[in-house]
Amino acid sequence: MNATTRETTAPVDRRAPARWSRVLRSRGWLKLIRLLAVLFMISVLTFLSLQLLPGDPARVILGDQANDPATLAAMRHELGLDQGILARYLDWIGGALSGDLGSSYVTKETVSSMISSRLPITLELVILSQLIALVLAIPAGIVAAINKGRGADHAIGLWVFGVLSTPNFVIGVILIWIFAVTLGWLPANGYQPWSEGVGAHLGSVILASISLAAAPFALYQRVLRADYAETLGRDFIDVARAKGISPLRIVFRHAIRPSILGLLTVTGLTVGVLIGSTVVVENLFGLPGLGAGLVSAVQNRDYIVVQGMTLVIACSFVLINTLVDFLYGVVDPRLRGATAGNREG
């Protein structure tokens, strides 16, 4: 009568002799192998894309002195630029695996120390803006779905489209004008570390987080509204009503979990967009994060820094989406083994 149980889980039997076919068939290992392959491809592409760009870091560093071929050659040798592309890649990736991403051509600071001072700021911006976006989008999406086609839905929709079609730096400028210039509540720009006090610190990042959160908020509200409205139209919601379950319990217990997968997917994918947006927003608000660091490194042709930062950003994006894959199975046990953007059923 029932032959569907095998779809649910396929646990690895650890006592069985390690046979490659079996290992490859189990989803956990398959995922790990795929993850490693993706990380490898990222490192290659990051490296290659910067090698193919025009401009020579040695010339940038030397400035006028670059006209002397001997000095230029000496500098190129010092930077390792005279070696073959494969040798340079292996040198770089070998160092990266042991935590050494090289040193800036320009400032001589190690790339890993630049990242470790800048990453927390960007990470905080991303996390804060995701929290703000989700906290606002979930109720807005649910309220709009419940009132689909009525006044509240149209009002929220209008607001959301307004936010969605405004670039984040414009929103940033508007926020600065309101809260820093007009009201004088928050600093217009500049970063305060935690050591300056929690209030001062949060005050220095909150406007940037809000302007980063605007676009994801709008996206999440749209996605959740559509999924949630679809769930509300399904039979099991009628069944729950016919059981006499209270409307609040239906809204919060029955309808949320089946509607949350789309939101989860876009939340994971949005991390990449947010990191990209920090490039603009960190510069606007004068925050010393990875985005601002990347911009100055690109301007200086400081490839080794760009490479290192890009690698870290890309890896965190991949790791976050691997986490999202894992969360699918937690939210909906039917989906154990599904992949972001590729869910079954």
Partner: protein, 336 residues
């Protein structure tokens, strides 16, 4: 004073405003159901039978449907009741079984927890008792290894077992009335009979009245006491089940019966399909709703809707037809 019937539907009209105009899905339906009685509602898709079921339950979105007439459950008005009062009825007094058991079950919550949720509508039942009762209910509806099954989810159940689980959910609070909307349409024929037998058995045991909504005359014959045939939103014939099959009077009922293959010895006949398509509720004529497809329709059939009249020798057998068929049914079905 006579006993109040379990369910009384009086002149019920349900309309939905659409872009094309006002769709009258249920048009002046009156029906009565006694305690523990089994009522069958038969009709093609679009006949209004499912809307009728949902309206009786009070599930229709009030903002979208325009409803007039009365639905009385144990003498109390369901349609006029507040949301809170209706919620008291749902699950406790009236419950419903839906057509597609897969989409009717929550996809993520384990089956046992879904049934326990229904059990907890009863006063003074704690979580552990409800979970225990859910396992008992699953066992009662014939699911083997109920304790393990209670922890599984809808996609791990077969179609028949899903419908059994929904039946368990429907009887969790021993309601007085179950509305079953095409409960076996999505199931294999072999499973169908078992599910309907189970439903009959449980309704008899717990003296639950039932409304069985179906398009299948065969199902009605075996699993109901009284039948209402619906066409174009109206009841066109209603009678005790034996009377209906002995003397189908309205032409549409006859046509429905002729559409069932007869395989009894010496009485073989191929099914006779009903020509045409069910009427578009936006383009109804002034006459009998079935007239455009009726092979016996005459001019007067297109002029006015016939009244629901009682048969001379059986007052509980009423029909709506200008040119009713004469008994017996066999001769006509055979002649065609």
């Amino acid at each position: 004073m006579p006993e109040t019937p379990l369910l009384q539907i009086e002149d019920l009209v349900v309309e939905f405003p659409t872009r094309g105009g006002l769709v009258r899905a249920v048009d002046g339906v009156s029906l009565t159901l006694g305690r523990g009685e089994r009522l069958g509602i038969v009709g093609e898709s679009g006949s209004g039978k499912s809307v009728l079921g949902r309206t009786v339950m009070g599930l229709n979105d009030r903002a979208r449907a325009r409803i007039s007439g009365r639905v009385l459950f144990e003498g109390k008005d369901v349609l006029g009741a507040s949301a809170q009062e209706r919620r008291e009825l749902w699950g406790r007094q009236i419950s419903m079984i839906f057509q597609d058991p897969l989409s009717a079950l929550h996809p993520i919550t384990p089956i046992g927890a879904q049934i326990a949720e229904a059990v907890r509508r009863l006063p003074d039942v704690d979580k552990a008792q409800a979970a225990e009762r859910a396992v008992e209910l699953l066992d009662m509806v014939g699911i083997p290894d109920a304790r393990r099954r209670a922890r599984q989810r809808a996609h791990e159940f077969s179609g028949g077992m899903r419908q059994r689980a929904l039946i368990a959910m429907a009887i969790a609070c021993k309601p007085k009335l179950i509305i079953a909307d095409e409960p076996t349409t999505a199931l294999d024929v072999t499973v169908q009979a078992k599910i309907l037998d189970l439903l009959d058995e449980l309704c008899t045991e717990l003296s639950i009245g039932s409304v069985l909504i179906t398009h299948d005359m065969g199902v009605v014959a075996q699993h109901t006491d009284r039948v209402a045939v619906m066409y174009g939103g109206q009841v066109v014939e209603t009678a005790p089940v034996a009377g209906l099959f002995a003397a189908p009077t309205m032409r549409y009922t006859r046509a429905l019966l002729a559409a069932i293959p007869q395989m009894a010895p010496g009485r073989r006949s191929l099914p006779v399909p009903i020509g045409g398509t069910p009427p578009n509720p936006l383009e109804r004529g002034a006459g009998c709703r079935f007239a455009p497809r009726c092979t016996f329709a005459e001019d007067d059939c297109h002029q006015a809707i016939p009244e629901l009249l009682a048969l001379a020798d059986a007052t509980d057998h009423r029909y709506r037809c200008w040119h009713p068929a004469a008994v017996p049914a066999e001769t006509e079905a055979g002649a065609r």
